[in-house]
């Protein structure tokens, strides 16, 4: 983000088109390079969340699974905030009942 971007944000203006171009390109190239369609990525995201949810309770709204690229290397990045472990959840449930 540049000074100009911050100023634009403060004034509620659109960000500079070069910034938009950069962001759009980074996203589309991550998909192109990994050969994953957005649908497949969504499906994978759901399945990953399901698996993780078996072990810990995660914040579904805050969680994000995305593709990021740097130097032509694509990485699958998952950011899943853990609310609590299922063990703790069980204890809480027992206490409340």
């Amino acid at each position: 983000m540049t000074l100009r971007d911050i100023l634009n944000k403060l004034l509620g203006r659109q960000q500079a088109s070069a910034t938009t171009a950069r962001e759009r390109l980074q996203l589309v190239l991550a998909h192109d390079r990994s050969d994953l369609s957005p649908e497949l990525l969504d499906q994978m995201k759901l399945e990953i969340l399901e698996v993780v949810a078996k072990y810990v309770e995660i914040d579904m709204d805050e969680g994000a699974v995305s593709l990021e690229t740097e130097d032509r290397m694509t990485a699958l990045v998952a950011n899943l905030p853990i609310k609590r472990t299922l063990k703790a959840k069980k204890q809480d449930d027992e206490q409340s009942s």
């Binding site: 540049t2 911050i6 088109s17 589309v28 130097d71």
Partner: protein, 271 residues
């Protein structure tokens, strides 16, 4: 035989970003430096290199007749009148697309490599057979792109294909750069494009009306000691290719005034 012949593919993926113009200007600029250079039009479907070099009326035979062995290579090569170090091997009939194979392309390039120091191959747009044939015959590549999302995306695709084919080195030329638009952050900057594509920058070419005028005439800008911005850019690219250490023009640092300094401050990346 010239053992150190450099065989360079000039490609972009997307059409209309300046492959043929770069090939023509680079060919002339290298020839003016005294190296024996040949430009090969590998765009058999839509040939134009002859036109940009002003050689369209002097073509007798083409790569097709050479491959069919109905003429010798030196009969098909068209020598540039003002710059005899440069020759063109014209593309044949579009029907060549139907039968041309990677082997044919390698044969042609192999013949050229015996006589020249540089073989510049003007690649067709796209990533289909024409591109694959050209890639099969090359050692290194120059990717040319413009600071536009579609051109950068297509360039990325081509870079991926060149990497899988073991082409090395692959260098980048950024064409049609408009410093004013970059300054106002309405155009991807040079750094944006090199970061995204992760390629070393061989050079950039400033947007310049003279390019259109020179193509109208069939006289590439590098033919004369031209002071137009694009002419200087092309000449610099040729020198860098030859190993000279010519610093890049930084379009963002062109201005020294207070206003330019302020604009630069505004586009400094903070996070």
């Amino acid at each position: 035989m010239a053992p150190n012949t450099r065989i360079i593919l000039i490609c972009s993926g997307k059409g209309g970003v300046g492959k043929t113009t770069l090939t023509a200007n680079l060919g002339i600029a290298l020839a003016r430096q005294g190296v024996r250079t040949v430009v090969l039009d590998a765009d058999f479907g839509l040939r134009n290199l002859d036109l940009l070099l002003g050689l369209e009326n002097r073509i007798v035979y083409t790569a097709q007749e050479v491959l069919e062995e109905s003429c010798r290579l030196d009969q098909a090569l068209v020598k540039h009148k003002q710059e005899p170090n440069l020759s063109l091997l014209p593309a044949g009939n579009p029907r060549m697309l139907e039968w041309l194979k990677p082997d044919d392309m390698q044969r042609i390039v192999g013949m050229l490599a015996k006589q020249f120091d540089y073989v510049l191959i003007d690649c067709p747009a796209g990533v289909e057979d024409g591109f694959k044939n050209a890639v099969s015959a090359t050692k290194e590549a120059i990717i040319i792109t413009t600071p536009e999302v579609s051109a950068v995306r297509d360039a990325d695709r081509v870079i991926g294909l060149l990497n899988t084919n073991g082409i090395k080195p692959v260098q980048l030329v950024l064409n049609r750069v408009r410093p004013k638009m970059i300054e106002s952050q309405e155009m991807l900057s040079v750094d944006d494009v090199t970061d995204i594509l992760a390629l070393p920058l061989l050079g950039l070419v400033l947007e310049d009306e003279q390019v259109i005028i020179s193509t109208n005439r069939g006289e590439p800008l590098t033919l004369k000691d031209n002071i137009s911005p694009a002419a200087r850019c092309y000449a610099n690219i040729a020198k860098r290719l030859q190993g000279e250490n010519i610093p890049l023009i930084d379009p963002a640092k062109a201005g020294r005034g207070l206003r330019d300094k302020f604009m630069r401050l505004m586009q400094t990346k903070i996070f």
